[in-house]
Amino acid sequence: MTNAAPVPTVSVNAVAKWYGNVVAVNDVTFGLAPGVTGLLGPNGAGKSTLLHLVAGLLRPSAGSVTVDGRPTFGDPAIYRRVGLVPEREAVFPYLTAREFVRLSAQLQGLPLGSGAVDRALERVELSMAADRELATYSKGMRQRAKVAAALVHDPAVLVLDEPFNGMDPRQRLHMMALLREFADAGRVILFSSHILEEVERVAERVLVVVAGRLAASGDFREIRRLMTDRPHSFTLRTSDDRALAVRLAGRPMVSGLALEDGRLDVRTADFAAFTRELPGLAREAGVSIFELAPADESLESVFDYLVRR
């Protein structure tokens, strides 16, 4: 893979999109840096609308979306820098995968002898089936063919709408590795998914969209920490859970304690104070801490909280 220069910038500024009286996306602002960003949200939250706005296939009703400073809508030239994998399964059924990817390469102006088509097919592990018509492909194979067509020109920005749909577990792992490989080469990857585990495994950052608004953005562990109006939960395994619990019970930042089956569960309303004071309290109690793990930092927990709020 060659490194594209310069570093791509994607900027979404106060963007809104409405259809008549229906507001699909409302006042959303974020920027994308190289790496993988996951777009999360319940059905109908506006994820696809946001992706299509970023990919230049929708005109913002208000605000702006730019790639490298250029508005994405109405400027086909941006597709030299942007690759899009749409959610809809539709592909040209009468083309083989090789023809489909070749068409994409030709429309990107790539010379046919460059080997880009074969490389793209190889990347998505479709080389063996490349000469079969897309009509005969399974959903997961079509998905991979779309990915190959989107990355044939080695785009600096890759936008994928539910890219793991229809893939079996092995293909998912492979696709995750591919996205990571792209991100490591300095690409901007933005993908939507309703499967939290996938986002958690691949994305460094998340954008959580709820009812057309951006509910949160950034590192999801960081987001969780910033949710100060909800206590954080930790699980501790120590040399003496009861002794540590006595010490913790006297501290104002601790809002709940439970001794359960060889572990100590702690709830705190002040994440910073808790992590700052815990080592000192353990030392005073003569307790060794073997394990300290956040109990509710999973992306699912973050997502549930933001959606319910």
Partner: protein, 248 residues
């Protein structure tokens, strides 16, 4: 942004898309219907068919029904079907000028329409008058080509503007071309059918007979060219501002 080099791949995928759809069979049957009628006339007619029979068949069947309907199906299938099934996104998300996409769709729809309807016009003419009136048959061929090109340009553009292009186009063919423009002479300057007939009469010369209408051949040709160019411009302009419908 890429230029003429993308025309070949766009034309190629459009041709395969047209041939890959079942409605192309319907178009073929429809286009060849005048040949069937001519065969019936030839086989059933005792004293043989006349040039006037051919002119009437051309006017009332070929130009009033077959050409506009064939152009309607080809024009709306060329890009409308891709918009309907979502595959158009694979063309739009590429650094390709939208005018090249519209041009490719119009070229394929027009050339396949001219081939189908032109073949039908030629065979119909040869069956009915043989080589007795070669200018009339050539005129029919030319008039058909002029009408098909203008119609397909209009219908490709209609597909980009409206999700109901087939219904709107059918309404236009039946109401405007089939009824209003046929019965009200004042509207003939706004009828693609009349442009085709004018071109046919111009080429047929002395053989034109009843094909010669209210529109002069040069005017008909110029107006057909104008309609085609305006339709292309409007189609390209619309596709440049085209938004993908979505959900979620």
């Amino acid at each position: 942004m890429l230029g003429a080099s993308v025309l070949g791949p766009l034309v190629d995928v459009t041709i395969r898309g047209l041939l890959g759809r079942r409605r192309i069979l319907l178009v073929g049957l429809l286009a060849m219907s005048p040949v069937g009628v001519a065969l019936i006339l030839v086989l059933g007619g005792g004293s043989g068919a006349s040039a006037e029979d051919l002119r009437q068949l051309y006017d009332s069947l070929v130009m009033t029904t077959v050409v506009p309907l064939v152009a309607l199906i080809l024009g709306t299938t060329a890009i409308g079907a891709e918009i309907d099934d979502g595959t158009v996104i694979h063309l739009l998300a590429r650094p390709v000028g939208r005018s090249w996409i519209v041009l490719a769709k119009m070229l394929v729809a027009a050339i396949s329409g001219v081939m189908l309807c032109g073949t039908a016009a030629l065979l119909t003419g040869l069956l009915l008058v043989g080589l007795d009136a070669p200018r009339l048959v050539l005129g029919m061929l030319g008039g058909t080509a002029v009408a098909v090109i203008a119609y397909t340009a209009v219908f490709v553009t209609l597909s980009v503007w409206s999700g109901r292009a087939l219904i709107v186009g059918l309404g236009y063919v039946l109401l405007w071309e089939g009824f209003i423009a046929s019965f009200f002479s004042g509207t003939r300057l706004l009828s693609i059918r009349e442009y085709g007939l004018a071109a046919a009469a111009g080429i047929a010369g002395p053989d034109a007979g009843s094909l010669a209408g209210d529109v002069a051949p040069a005017i008909g040709l110029a107006l057909a060219a104008l309609v085609t160019v305006v339709a292309f411009g409007l189609g390209a302009r619309r596709l440049a501002r085209f938004e993908i419908s979505d959900a979620g």
